[in-house]
């Protein structure tokens, strides 16, 4: 039983990471109907920015404060990156066919990955210890301070996001744009600005995930965005792409099932489980767990 609970804890901390990244996918899809393949790589950039920032602070004692600083720095950097990508790569093709948008997204993704390999070097790097270590043992289940941090910070950010979307004017504007871009425009909403903010928010969350992962599993490398990004994407679809609470639910579900499959079956099926779930969802309930059915108009 303890093993099961331990695996559950493992799954929750992994799932929170997926949830954070999935939020970015779901928000961008909501406003632009675009699957932003480059999102996983923004997460990777966040991890690297966090890495270099924490190296700068290496002399200082590991503390909550330095960890916070690193995370905020990474979030800011990636918010800017997200805005840049949107402005330079996606806005010129916004009115084009879906396939064109998709290819552009793939292009940006490849560009980020290869630039990272060039600039940071293709070898994996290892995050230094940021926050003080402390482990909690409850009934034989061991929870590390990193895992607690990951889960706590993720939930905090998600709650903040929910508040932002539901209670602020900008949040309302975001919801309007995701409902109908053209109608929002007619209502006087500056859609370009809202879209930029959406990208910035999503990228910032991805960056936070990157730093959290760096703290938990010390290893980062330029291609880490690919497996995490893809599974976070599946999580977004599972929850209902375009739905914020759906992304969170999806992330936790995917994370937990992945850990269970690896622990109780075999690690070879690690990736398959995510795609298996994806296909089942798309065939049985394409709008996801919490999404709305999209009626196709003639």
């Amino acid at each position: 039983m303890t093993t099961f609970l331990q695996q559950l804890v493992n799954g929750l901390s992994l799932g929170s990471i997926y949830a954070l990244i999935a939020l970015g996918y779901t928000m961008v899809y909501g406003v632009l109907r675009l699957i932003n393949f480059a999102h996983g790589d923004v997460y990777m950039v966040g991890a690297y920015v966090g890495y270099y920032l924490s190296r700068r602070l290496r002399g200082a004692e590991p503390s909550i404060f330095s960890a916070l600083l690193v995370m905020l720095g990474a979030m800011l950097a990636c918010a800017l990156l997200g805005i840049l990508i949107e402005r330079l790569a996606y806005r010129p093709v916004r009115r084009e066919a879906r396939l064109t948008l998709l290819i552009t997204a793939i292009g940006v993704s490849l560009l980020l990955e290869n630039l990272a390999q060039l600039v940071f070097g293709p070898d994996p790097k290892f995050f230094p210890s940021l926050a003080p270590r402390a482990d909690f043992v409850l009934e034989g289940v061991r929870v590390t301070s990193e895992q607690i941090t990951v889960i706590a910070v993720s939930f905090l950010l998600m709650i903040l996001l929910r508040f932002f979307i539901l209670k602020t004017r900008t949040g309302k504007a975001m919801r309007a744009v995701s409902f109908s871009l053209d109608a929002s425009r007619l209502m006087g909403i500056s859609t370009d600005k809202i879209i930029a903010i959406t990208f910035a928010l999503g990228s910032a969350l991805a960056a936070a995930a990157g730093v959290l992962i760096g703290m938990q599993i010390p290893k980062i490398d330029p291609l880490m965005g690919i497996p995490y990004g893809l599974k976070a994407f599946v999580a977004a679809v599972l929850g209902g792409i375009g739905s914020v609470p759906g992304a969170v639910l999806g992330g936790l579900l995917i994370g937990t099932s992945e850990v269970m499959v690896v622990g109780y079956l075999s690690s070879t099926y690690r990736d398959a489980i995510a795609f298996g779930i994806l296909i089942l969802v798309l065939l049985l309930r394409p709008q996801g767990l919490m999404g709305r059915v999209q009626k196709e108009k003639v």
Partner: protein, 338 residues
């Protein structure tokens, strides 16, 4: 009769070219082995690109799992030639060596194509009910699942890769099958079935309203496309002698998509052009090692912004030259909304 003679003539030319390139007629025409490899890989790319264009370009379906079918073809064909090739060779010992090797390859490729077609059917039937982005995601998912399943099969080396595949594919076979693929797709597209596919691409709901069995047509084109991808995969395996599941990820599917988009969706000559350009660029830029992929991805983004319909758009090379305005089923403008 005329078609048959033409086919024989083409086969003859390819055979001669193959011998020439390998140096049988003296080194004047012999290609340096590295160049020959690029040419052969280009040929395989042509098969993959043209077959994908049938479903993406002509039928307008958003499929990004093509690498999965390629993988099935590659592994199935290789498993056959490695495990049963010896026995087959013995059984037809009376044939000259060329005949024996060719038979082993052909049987292997057929098995690969068949299994890929079956997979295409199994994937197509449930998926093709979906539209646009959802279809793309599902095909991506299936492509990855196929790859993971292969990775867990110890009999074909699993995660360690499959080594020791006999080098049965050469210029003749690769370009022979490339010509065959082009022919098949050309004939499909210029038939009434082809017009059905284009109708589905242009407006699926209208086509359905006109009495077209859209799902059936989509599945058929999907199955044909997968079978051809399987052949491409089999040739790929028998040329490189080593395959690994990591060669068939969605990145590979993306590469094929890039080829047909650059060349022009809905244009057969466009796919050929895209395939050749792609391998030329990736090999040609190899000198610049790390900068290669950065340049390449930048190029991709720029092309999408500047000329999203690709080089040839919906037109074929011939019509491109003669500037005919209204080729096959096209209404002027960039590719349609999904």
């Amino acid at each position: 009769m005329r078609a048959f003679l033409l086919g024989l003539a083409i086969a003859g030319v390819l055979l001669l070219a193959n011998a020439a390139f390998m140096g049988s007629f003296g080194s004047a025409l012999a290609l340096p082995p590295y160049l020959l490899q690029i040419v052969c890989l280009a040929g395989i790319n042509v098969i993959l690109a043209v077959s994908l264009n049938l479903i993406n370009g002509f039928t307008g379906q958003f499929s990004i799992g093509h690498a999965g079918f390629m993988a099935i073809g590659a592994y199935a064909a290789s498993y056959f030639t490695v495990t049963f090739g010896g026995r087959l060779r013995e059984a037809v010992g009376f044939l000259p060596e060329f005949g024996r090797e060719s038979l082993v390859l052909l049987v292997g490729l057929s098995i690969g194509a068949l299994l890929a077609a079956v997979a295409g059917f199994l994937v197509g039937v449930p998926s093709l009910r979906l539209r646009g982005d959802y279809l793309a995601i599902v095909t991506l998912g299936f492509g990855e699942i196929i790859r993971v399943i292969i990775q867990s099969l110890d009999a074909v080396g699993g995660a360690r890769g499959f080594a020791g595949i006999p080098k049965l594919a050469n210029f003749f076979w690769i370009y022979g099958f490339a010509a065959l693929t082009i022919l098949i797709v050309y004939r499909i597209v210029h038939s009434s079935f082809g017009r059905t596919l284009i109708a589905i691409r242009e407006d699926e709901i209208a086509a359905e309203a006109m009495g077209v069995h859209t799902t059936r047509a989509k599945v058929i084109s999907f199955v044909v496309s997968s079978a051809m991808a399987g052949v491409g995969g089999g040739l790929f395996a028998h040329y490189l002698m080593y395959i690994h599941p990591a060669s068939f990820t969605f990145l590979k599917s993306f590469e094929i998509i890039i080829m047909i988009v650059i060349g022009g969706l809905g244009s057969i000559s466009g796919s050929i052009l895209g395939a050749v350009l792609f391998i030329t660029l990736t090999e040609g830029l190899r000198q610049f090692a790390q900068y290669r992929m950065v340049l390449f991805s930048l190029l991709l983004i720029v092309i999408m912004i500047v000329r999203p319909q690709g080089i040839l758009g919906h037109r074929e090379f011939v019509t491109f030259l003669t500037r005919r305005r209204r080729p096959l089923g096209e209404s002027p403008g960039t590719p349609e909304e999904a």
